[in-house]
């Protein structure tokens, strides 16, 4: 089996650290507002005129704010596996940033394995692949999923 090159499905949204990846947000140098995806030319705070930002890694762990799944294959530009395999999606509250960030849940974890308030951790997983590349994206993985088989990164 040939090894495909792993590349991010989108540039600059997360680190490619296989063991401890992080989403990349921005912090306004004027008012300290944090945003994801990162801001580059305007601050969302209506009381701030700031237009300079530093890149910051967001918290790698959070708690499930809510969750659901994709029972039907989403339309393009989603690139679905053939045959389609349903997956869970969750919205995760990050304590330090006081914001909620969405993402897919790792394969093998369904809605029956999730609860609001569960602790989850950010991991990288394959979104889709072509002949040469695996396109990587962030996903959320429960930190203490009992009775569930979670696919570990190889």
């Amino acid at each position: 089996m040939t090894t495909k090159t792993r590349v991010p499905a989108i540039d600059g949204w997360f680190t490619m650290d296989e063991h401890a990846p992080a989403l990349l947000g921005s912090r306004c140098t004027s008012c300290a507002n944090v945003a994801f995806p990162r801001e580059t030319y305007f601050c969302r705070n209506p009381h701030c005129q700031g237009n300079e930002f530093v890149e910051i890694p967001l918290s790698r762990t959070g708690t499930v704010w809510s969750y659901t799944n994709a029972g039907y294959q989403p339309p393009e530009p989603f690139v679905a596996a053939d045959p389609y395999v349903p997956f869970a999606i969750c919205a995760v509250a990050l304590a330090a940033e006081q914001m909620v960030v969405m993402g897919q849940v790792v394969p093998g974890v369904g809605v029956d394995d999730l609860n609001v308030g569960d602790e989850v951790e950010l991991v990288l997983d394959t979104l889709y692949a072509d002949d040469e590349h695996e396109y990587m994206v962030w996903k959320w993985r429960p930190m203490a999923a009992t009775g569930t088989t979670i696919r570990q990164e190889a």
């Binding site: 989108i10 507002n33 530009p77 909620v100």
Partner: protein, 398 residues
């Protein structure tokens, strides 16, 4: 309840919702024709045309006021077009209202119509990595129902809502729409049938998620003075149109975003976005939720209708399920919601939908809503929300 910022509604018209597969202009033309006929105003006397846009059938310059004006026969009337996702229709109403209130015209036609493809709404094609709407499908497979389901799950967690509650909303709306000649789906369903339909986005099932439809809606609006001269009886007025943006920081995840704003640097104060949409309308009309006889709200999902009960102030947060279970929002109850059948019976024809909500209120307030009439209705409110921070609320009274 008319006030100094009210405009009169002379006519309302709709083309039945469905999957007709014809050109959107045809639906808009039919709706405009009916609204004009009701109003007793000739097309050639309309001074201003406000179109509601969408992008799917071409581009916004095409699905626009001018296209409908051309179909009716160009008269040199002033024209505008509004695109605001699901709130496009309300913004078109607001454009016409502003022209009338500014004294720039006396009588205006508002039109919106759409032809929609089957299945999930999806973004415009191409490789558009700077568009969050494109990216949420690409990177997360997050459809519109994904977001509706996140909110539904919150109701289960926070307020003890059940899947049966959500199904009950669908059952109620299906019954409301049975005799509505403009509704697409006219079939009763049971809670059991809803709960047996396929899961789309847990906990929401196929019968609980609004379809996409073809349809058209139109209104003839005029100044109060014009209405008096016209000799209109049983005058219905639009007393408020709210099209406010969210306030920073917005802490509820909204389509098509990946995240909320952060409330770490700037604390959250005041109402949520959806609450503020209705609050601004109440404030403008000088009334409150206690004055409302009926409401038409955007039930993009069954559970979302429950959120609206709270957002438009029919009850406190966490009490929507009780309101539903007690029958308060059913026809015959204290404050019927979606007497038209709602999106549940219509499916969404985006640029027409917010106009259609107002058409329904107009007919209800005139006592012309055969088979679904809310008895003695005097004030109605609409509420809707779309992509990218667009939302609207319109208050109509008699």
């Amino acid at each position: 309840m008319a006030n100094e910022k009210s405009v009169a509604v002379l006519g309302a018209g709709m083309h039945p919702w469905g999957k007709w597969g014809r050109n959107f202009i045809e639906y808009g033309l039919a709706a405009a024709g009916d609204a004009l006929k009701e109003s007793g105003v000739d097309w050639t006397d309309i001074q201003y045309v406000a179109g509601a846009d969408t992008i799917r059938n071409g581009y916004p310059g095409f699905i626009a006021g001018a296209t409908f004006a051309q179909a009716l026969g160009w008269t040199g009337a002033r024209v505008s077009s509004a695109y605001a996702a699901c709130a496009s229709g309300a913004q078109a109403i607001n454009n016409a209202r502003a022209q009338i209130l500014a004294g720039l015209c006396d009588v205006a036609l508002v039109v919106g119509a759409d032809t929609t493809p089957k299945g999930f709404f999806k973004p415009v094609g191409g490789d558009r990595k700077d568009d969050p709407d494109w990216l949420r499908f690409h990177l997360m497979g997050a459809t519109n129902p994904t977001y509706f389901a996140l909110y539904a799950r919150r109701r289960i967690e926070l307020f003890g809502a059940t899947e049966a509650d959500f199904a009950t909303v669908k059952v109620k709306n299906a019954r409301h729409g049975l005799e509505n000649p403009y509704a697409r789906y006219k079939k009763e369903v049971t809670v059991e049938e809803v709960l047996a339909s396929p899961m789309v986005a847990d906990p929401l099932r196929l019968l609980e998620i609004c379809a996409t439809s073809d349809g058209g809606a139109a209104l003839v609006l005029c100044s109060m003075e014009f209405a008096k001269k016209h000799g209109t009886q049983d005058l219905v007025t639009i007393d408020a149109v709210s099209t406010v943006t969210p306030r920073f920081p917005q802490i509820i995840i909204e389509m098509p975003n990946f995240s909320t704003d952060s409330s770490a640097a700037v604390a959250t104060v005041g109402p949520t976005f959806k609450e503020s949409v209705a609050l601004a309308a109440y404030e403008e009309a000088g009334i409150g939720p206690e004055d409302i006889s009926l409401a038409e709200v955007y039930d993009l999902s069954s559970a979302l209708e429950l959120d609206w009960y709270e957002d438009i102030g029919l009850c406190k947060q966490g009490e929507a399920e009780k309101l539903l279970r007690d029958g308060d929002t059913t026809l015959g109850g204290r404050v019927p919601v979606n007497a038209s059948g709602g999106l549940s019976c219509f499916g969404e024809a985006i640029p027409a939908q917010a106009i259609a909500q107002v058409c329904e209120l107009v007919w209800q307030l005139r006592g012309q809503a055969t088979g679904r009439q809310v008895k003695g209705a005097t004030v109605g409110i609409t509420a809707n929300q779309g992509l990218f921070g667009h939302g609207s609320s319109v208050i109509v009274s008699r």
